[in-house]
């Protein structure tokens, strides 16, 4: 036995995690579930390394690759293994931004790095109708904003490229919509509190559901217009049926939701400098509070919206209230693009209209240069598993790619050990057989564990430092060995109390149930967690009086043959001594016999 046991202060545990892994395959047939344990030895390296360094005789190293289970139509095949991996969201883009005149690219420290990724939520979370994803939104050092999102169809990409508003904007803003290949402009003031408005001949109509002045968000409901024959009047009447929702933002555009099913795409623009509500409704005027004004000023900062189009290219548009600047493609080959140049925001009627205000916006506009350092396109927003190059030490997150099939239904997916898995999908994979069969299989990757016949309770962990320095002088844990709680739920007996395990001073304990002797070594620790940290609040909270919480990790080993190993060692050394230095002493008689 050779494994690890991690405990938080106050925790009790009796299972030891070993280095190895195994699959647990649950086959459900007519409500009955049977479990199969399939041992899995992936070897120490990423499987790609075996190919990359093919000169080594890897065949000598055993690893469970390929079909490792095949019975009754259920097949488990391991396809790939990463000894260390991480999850990344794609599409992802890494930009470098520099303000003012563009510096030399070699002078990398003068370029500000910005990494943006669209994160998927697996169909849940923030957007019930959309793709289940949310874009990224970052603030640059000079206060500008960069947004990154994605368009899934050509129509959506076109809508982005043709999203420039028309005419002077109003204080409450303008909505630019695309449907059926046509462009529509609506003033928010005009829509508020009105019935659905048809969008040309696209067969769609929209209705303003909500306008949140605080966060500059408009929520639009889309309706499908259906021609119904009104029997009474015997004429065609337009009946609308709500189908989707658009959520558009004036500031946090990454949270926008387009109505992809209905094919309606939009953008929301506003002018913080325009005179406030035109309506005479004083009640409405009152609603514009101070915070909303601050929000508008924040949202009038220069903003760079970038999307990945349907063709997996990058497009961008720039915004500086109250103007939309350039809308164009963003080269992803590393060539530089100038954004926020004042000239991009100039229009023909600048000279006459709102002269002073526009000038004010241009005064403190610093042009910036952007280039794409790295772009990882993706067809849909998703989480991909990336391999981390082999490293010797440190924490690792292994993942294995498997193909699980039952009869003709097969599925490929990544699995992580349950203890370290980061999502439900990689914790367990399920494949169902055809419906008439009624069978289904589910698969989990588990650490090999050993159940001890007793429990270990960590009372206290302590770390010591050399006086006045932050150099560690040693750490120790105070543990109790206790009886495992039985089903009756009675308070368990304590075998040994307040045992101290220190570095260099392991503790032995004999399992009273099977007579095996285990040794506990202080191996590492984590923490301290303090009140306010999630670990502390979850475990300690208000249960006991405490200022900090540590996690202590022990190596646990049991080796009944230890003495034999010692004997062997001793014999090696004794053998060398005898051969080299005491030969004469031992073999004297033999020699003399020979000479005689």
């Amino acid at each position: 036995v050779d494994g690890q046991m991690s405990l938080l202060e106050g925790d009790r545990s009796s299972s030891v995690l070993e280095m190895g892994y195994h699959f647990e395959l649950s086959i459900t047939d007519d409500g009955k579930t049977s479990k199969v344990i399939i041992p899995f030895d992936p070897g120490p390296f990423n499987w790609e390394d075996y190919i990359r360094l093919s000169r080594f005789p890897w065949s000598l190293v055993g690893r469970d690759r390929g079909v490792i289970y095949d019975k009754d139509g259920v097949t488990l095949e391991t396809l790939d293994y990463y000894s260390d991996s991480r999850r990344i969201s794609v599409p992802e883009v890494k930009l470098r931004v520099a303000h003012g005149p563009a510096p030399d690219k070699r002078n990398i420290e003068s370029w500000e790095p910005v990494t943006l990724a669209v994160r998927s939520f697996g169909g849940h979370g923030m957007s019930p109708h959309g793709t289940g994803s949310v874009g990224a939104w970052r603030e640059l050092a000079q206060g500008e904003i960069v947004m990154f999102g994605m368009a899934t169809s050509k129509a959506e990409t076109d809508a982005f490229l043709d999203s420039r508003p028309e005419g002077p904007l109003e204080f409450n803003g303008q909505i630019v919509l695309h449907a059926g290949g046509k462009k529509f402009h609506f003033s928010v003031d005009d829509l508020e509190g009105k019935p659905p408005r048809p969008l040309g001949d696209s067969g769609m109509a929209i209705e303003l559901k909500d306008f949140d002045r605080q966060s500059l968000r408009v929520v639009l409901a889309t309706h499908r217009v259906e021609k119904r024959i009104d029997k009474k009047e015997n004429s065609e009447v337009d009946r609308t049926k709500p189908v989707g929702t658009l959520v558009l933002h004036g500031f946090q555009t990454n949270l926008d939701q387009q109505d992809r099913e209905g094919g309606v795409y939009g953008s929301f623009w506003f002018d913080p400098y325009a005179s406030e509500d035109k309506s005479d409704d004083t009640a409405k005027k009152k609603i514009v509070p101070e915070t909303s004004r601050a929000m508008r000023m924040a949202a009038s900062r220069p903003r760079l919206d970038i999307i990945q189009g349907h063709d997996q290219k990058l497009y961008y548009r720039t915004w500086r209230a109250p103007r939309v600047g350039t809308i164009a493609q963003l080269p992803s080959d590393g060539s530089e693009t100038m954004v926020f140049s004042p000239s991009a925001f100039k229009t023909a009627d600048d000279k006459t209209d709102k002269k002073s205000k526009v000038a004010a916006t241009e005064d403190n506009l610093i042009p910036a240069t952007v280039y794409v350092e790295k772009f990882m396109p993706s067809e849909k927003p998703e989480i991909q598993i990336r391999m981390v190059p082999f490293k010797k030490d440190g924490h690792k997150t292994p993942r294995v790619k498997v193909r699980l099939s039952i009869d003709e239904n097969r599925q490929e997916f990544w699995l992580a050990p349950v203890a370290t898995a980061e999502s439900a999908a990689e914790r367990q994979g399920v494949v169902k057989a055809d419906e008439d069969d009624g069978r289904s299989v589910s698969l989990q990757l588990l650490n090999d564990t050993i159940e001890l016949g007793f429990g270990v309770v960590l009372d206290n962990f302590e770390r010591r430092l050399d006086p006045g320095t932050s150099r560690p002088a040693g750490y120790s844990s105070q543990i109790d060995f206790v009886q495992k709680p039985d089903s009756s739920g009675m308070d368990s007996a304590v075998y040994e109390e307040d045992v101290i395990v220190t570095l260099n001073q392991p503790v032995s304990f004999t399992d009273p149930t099977d007579g095996r002797t285990y040794r506990f070594f202080q191996s590492s620790f984590a923490g301290p967690y303090r009140p306010g940290d999630p670990q502390f609040d979850q475990i300690v909270g208000g249960n006991r009086k405490s200022d900090e919480l540590y996690q202590s990790t022990f190596s646990v080993s049991s080796d009944p043959g230890r003495q034999l190993k010692y004997a062997g060692c001793l014999m090696i050394v004794a053998g060398i001594v005898v051969m080299y230095y005491m030969k004469a002493y031992f073999f004297r008689r033999k020699k003399t016999a020979k000479t005689k």
Binding site: D2, P467, P472, N504, P506, T510, K545, S555, V573
Partner: protein, 902 residues
């Protein structure tokens, strides 16, 4: 101690001619010995001020005893004196060039100071004022820091150019100097520590506490809590306002921080009490109670943090980081057993606090004694500055004595007060380790610093080699004997130095690269001497061994030898001695409780009772079966060996006197290659250890040892054996290289029957010697590796973890095994032996240096780092070049003979 000092001093004088540079006489006329020996606390241990001064001055000036231009004169300063001068004459030293800045580009392009003076002498220092004024230097450092940060964000490695490294070093030197010479009374002084502490306090108050306290404060009761919180708020505001000003008023800052500390402490005690009440309370509403308790945990922990940070803030007014800490502090935060790295409270007070802090800050310290320290320091200062007085030296010595005595009195009077401190989680060990040390505590270290024993090691070894070299010409035997004696003395210096280091750190002196290299060097030299003079010692040793034998057996065996019978009564006496020792051994091993793991005796006479069923029983039986023979052997062998060794001290000279010294001496002289190559290898190792630059050899004495390796018992057993095996391997390497030199440059001879051409005769003798050395290396390496595995099992629960060090130890062992077996089986001849010795040494080099400095990693992380790759690779490459050259010559000679017989 004084005796040793005198003897050493005599030797030093005798050898001064050889090492003229070493004596490095200090021209300062003042007596600094009391100042030097004063105990201070730095880097987690108590040390003499001398060591502290050497370390800091070394960091500031680049050398421990710099030669500086001051008052238009060049003067050499000792580290201790310079430190004192910085403390009392800060204004003057601001304008003196002493910060290390030797890099020419750095001087010319960034600092804009000339790289040479008008006489063409290279300048290597700049003054602090120069750094203060240089805007370009500041900008350069900022750029450098930004570049490094970007590199670390991108995960790329950033290598410093020579000039950048020099700039970083200069900046560090400047920082160290500013911390040391920090004068809290100066209004415009840079208070980095104070501002960082203030930021911490403000952060904790505004982010962690103020929002959580709102519910209490909004009730607006006129109670203690609201009052304390309000006072904290006011103090923080005052301090923030104060820190905005150009010149910080010390008295105001003291006032506000004291108010802050008091209020924070009050607040903490209020919440600690409330928490106690919350945990005592019983309420039907469990959920509500649990929530309240959680809240109280949070507030109690955070107010405690605020109280700690406030104390740190108050301390930082007088303490700006690394400084001269002279007496224990009454600071409960520093003495907690589980202090965490965020809490940098110092267990000792620095000089500035003692001298200048207000009575409020020094609350609890005996005021009269503090006053005595202040007065006596003032006196020393006056005497030091008054350079013209008659009898300055005597006055200074007297004043300094008074000052150190006053400090000692203060330090000792604090001790009982520390015991009464309200320390949470008191730790007697920690208290003892930070107590004011007794008189003479620092003597060993002062001696170590002054003596510089390893300088003598190499110098005297060199002298021994000179003796041997002379011995090739004239006075063969006397020179050989003299050489052996001198070389033994040199190793004595090394052992003395290592002993002093051990007494200072309390660890077996093999904790870093520097110490292991020295240890190996001494081992090589002593092994060389041992093999070399074995013929001289052997008759006496043999006699001693026989003398300690059991009387009746020897009578039967040695009828031929007349002399043995005459010793018979003595032998009976020896039997009594042996019997006493046997009893003692049995007690130590099987009765007394000396097991290092703390459970009972070392070995058991009967199988240990086991509770673990069959496997447990088997285990304990096996253990008993092994330990019993070991026990019996030890009990039989050591009681005989120990008296034999003691007797041999008398018997060796006696036997030489009676049986004549000529023959053994001739034999020894024939074997002198052992001694010479041992000495040469040792000399190389000493020189490398003493002079090699860079991070590989950290010569300082300290506690850098990783926590996991702090175990003297196993350190002694495992590391000493392993390093001794490296010593044997190094001896083999020396011998191998000598014989390679013979192969390469020696005179080959022809043999008639069978007709063949042979290398010099000495080669085969040398191969025999190499074989002996490798045998020893194999034995020690095997034993060392196995004890290492047992330690690993004991400490980490595994025998073998494929740690780089373990793997390379195994590789080395296997290499040597192949060499030995190859020779035994006849695969390789004498030349193979020489080549094998070099191969073995190369793998030792990898296991010893390479694993720590090229592969870097694993648990054997004593003295890891990087650096020195190039010289080591060049050295190894040269050695292999030499092997190749010898091989070519050897091969050519053999082939030539074959083509042209006769």
């Amino acid at each position: 101690m004084i005796d040793i000092k005198n003897i050493l001093f005599t030797i030093m004088l005798a050898l001064a001619a050889i090492t003229a540079t070493a004596a490095g006489a200090n021209r300062s006329k003042l007596d600094w010995s009391d100042w030097r020996a004063m105990p201070v606390m730095d880097g987690g241990r108590r040390m003499p001020l001398d060591t502290f001064a050497r370390e800091t001055v070394g960091a500031v000036c680049g050398r421990e005893n710099p030669r500086l231009d001051i008052d238009k004169e060049t003067e050499k300063f000792s580290a201790a004196e310079l430190l004192f001068a910085w403390l009392v004459e800060a204004d003057k030293w601001n304008g003196v060039d002493f910060l290390r800045a030797g890099n020419e580009t750095l001087r010319e392009t960034i600092l804009e100071v000339p790289p040479q003076d008008e006489f063409g002498k290279r300048l290597r220092y700049v003054s602090p004022r120069c750094i203060d004024k240089s805007v370009a230097f500041e900008r350069y450092l900022n750029d450098l820091a930004r570049a490094q940060q970007t590199a670390s964000e991108d995960g790329t490695t950033f290598t410093l150019s020579g000039e950048q490294e020099a700039a970083a070093e200069l900046n560090k030197a400047y920082g160290v100097y500013r911390m040391l010479s920090f004068d809290p009374r100066h209004p415009a002084i840079t208070r980095t520590q104070f501002y960082s502490c203030l930021r911490d306090v403000i952060g904790t108050w505004r982010n962690d506490l103020a929002p959580g306290l709102q519910p209490w404060l909004e009730i607006k009761r006129e109670d203690q809590l609201a009052d304390a919180a309000m006072r904290i708020n006011r103090a923080i505001q005052d301090l923030a306002g104060l820190s905005q000003k150009e010149d910080l008023s010390l008295s105001q800052a003291e006032e506000h921080t004291s108010a802050l500390c008091k209020a924070a402490k009050e607040l903490n005690s209020i919440f600690a009490k409330t928490r106690d009440r919350a945990f005592e309370a019983t309420d039907d509403d469990k959920k509500m109670l649990s929530h309240a308790r959680e809240m109280m945990n949070k507030l109690a922990a955070r107010t405690k943090k605020l109280a700690r940070q406030s104390d740190a803030l108050r301390r930082s007014l007088f303490d700006n980081g690394r400084s001269l800490r002279i007496v224990p502090a009454l600071d409960p935060w520093a003495l907690r057993r589980d202090r965490d790295p965020g809490n940098q409270a110092q267990p000792w007070l620095n000089l500035q606090t003692v001298l200048y802090a207000s009575p409020e800050i020094l609350d609890g310290y005996p005021a009269d004694k503090v006053e005595a320290v202040r007065r006596s320091f003032e006196k020393v200062k006056t005497v030091y500055l008054d350079r013209e007085t008659v009898g300055r030296a005597e006055q200074f010595a007297q004043a300094m004595k008074k000052f150190t005595a006053a400090v000692r009195e203060l330090g000792e009077s604090i001790e009982p007060l520390r015991d009464k401190l309200p320390i949470e989680k008191k730790d007697d060990e920690l208290l003892a380790a930070t107590a004011y040390p007794p008189v003479g505590f620092t003597a060993n270290e002062v001696l170590y610093n002054r003596l510089d024993p390893f300088l003598w090691s190499w110098a005297v070894t060199l002298a021994a080699l000179v003796c041997f070299a002379l011995g090739f010409g004239v006075l063969r035997k006397p020179m050989f004997l003299l050489g052996v004696v001198v070389m033994t003395v040199a190793q004595g210096f090394t052992l003395l130095g290592l002993y002093l280091r051990a007494t200072i750190t309390g660890m077996i002196p093999v904790t870093n690269m520097f110490e292991t290299v020295l240890f190996v060097a001494a081992t090589v030299a002593l092994l060389g001497i041992w093999f070399g003079i074995l013929p001289i010692l052997w008759p006496g040793l043999g006699k001693a061994w026989r003398l300690t034998a059991l009387p009746w057996r020897i009578k039967k065996d040695s009828q031929s030898s007349e002399s043995d019978i005459t010793w018979s009564p003595a032998r009976v006496g020896m039997l009594a001695v042996r019997a006493v020792l046997v009893v003692g051994m049995i007690y130590v091993l099987a009765i007394g409780e000396f097991n290092p793991s703390g459970d009972g005796s070392v070995l058991w006479l009967l199988p240990k009772a086991s509770s673990g069923g069959l496997s447990g029983l088997l285990g304990s039986l096996t253990l008993w079966a092994i330990s019993l023979p070991v026990f019996l052997w030890m009990v039989w062998f050591f009681p005989r060996a120990i008296p034999a060794i003691v007797l041999s001290i008398v018997l060796v000279p006696w036997s030489l006197a009676t049986e004549g010294i000529k023959e053994p001496l001739d034999e020894s002289v024939r074997r002198r290659v052992f001694v010479i190559s041992g000495g040469a290898v040792a000399l190389i190792a000493y020189l490398v250890a003493y002079y090699a630059p860079g991070p590989v050899f950290n010569r300082g004495v300290g506690l850098e040892m990783a926590a996991v390796l702090r175990n003297n018992f196993w350190l002694a057993i495992h590391v000493l054996i392993i390093t001794a095996s490296y010593g044997a391997g190094a001896l083999a390497w020396g011998l191998g290289n000598v014989s390679l030199a013979l192969y390469a440059f020696g005179r080959y001879r022809d043999e008639e029957k069978p007709p063949r051409r042979l290398p010099p005769k000495a080669c085969s003798v040398l191969a025999g010697y190499t074989y002996r050395a490798i045998q020893l290396a194999v034995l020690l390496l095997a034993a060392g590796t196995i004890t290492g595995a047992i330690w690993a099992d004991f400490a980490w629960g595994r025998y073998w973890g494929w740690d780089p060090k373990e793997v390379w130890a195994l590789v080395t062992l296997l290499v040597y095994m192949v060499i030995l077996h190859g020779r035994w089986a006849g695969w390789s001849g004498d030349f193979g032996m020489a080549m094998g010795a070099v191969l073995g040494a190369t793998s030792i080099m990898m296991a010893w240096y390479g694993v720590n400095f090229i592969l870097t990693g694993g648990l054997h992380s004593y003295g890891t780092g990087s650096g020195g790759q190039t010289p080591v690779l060049i050295l190894v490459g040269c050695n292999w070049g030499f092997v190749l050259f010898s091989a070519v010559r050897y091969h050519v000679e053999k082939t030539v003979q074959r083509i042209n017989p006769g």
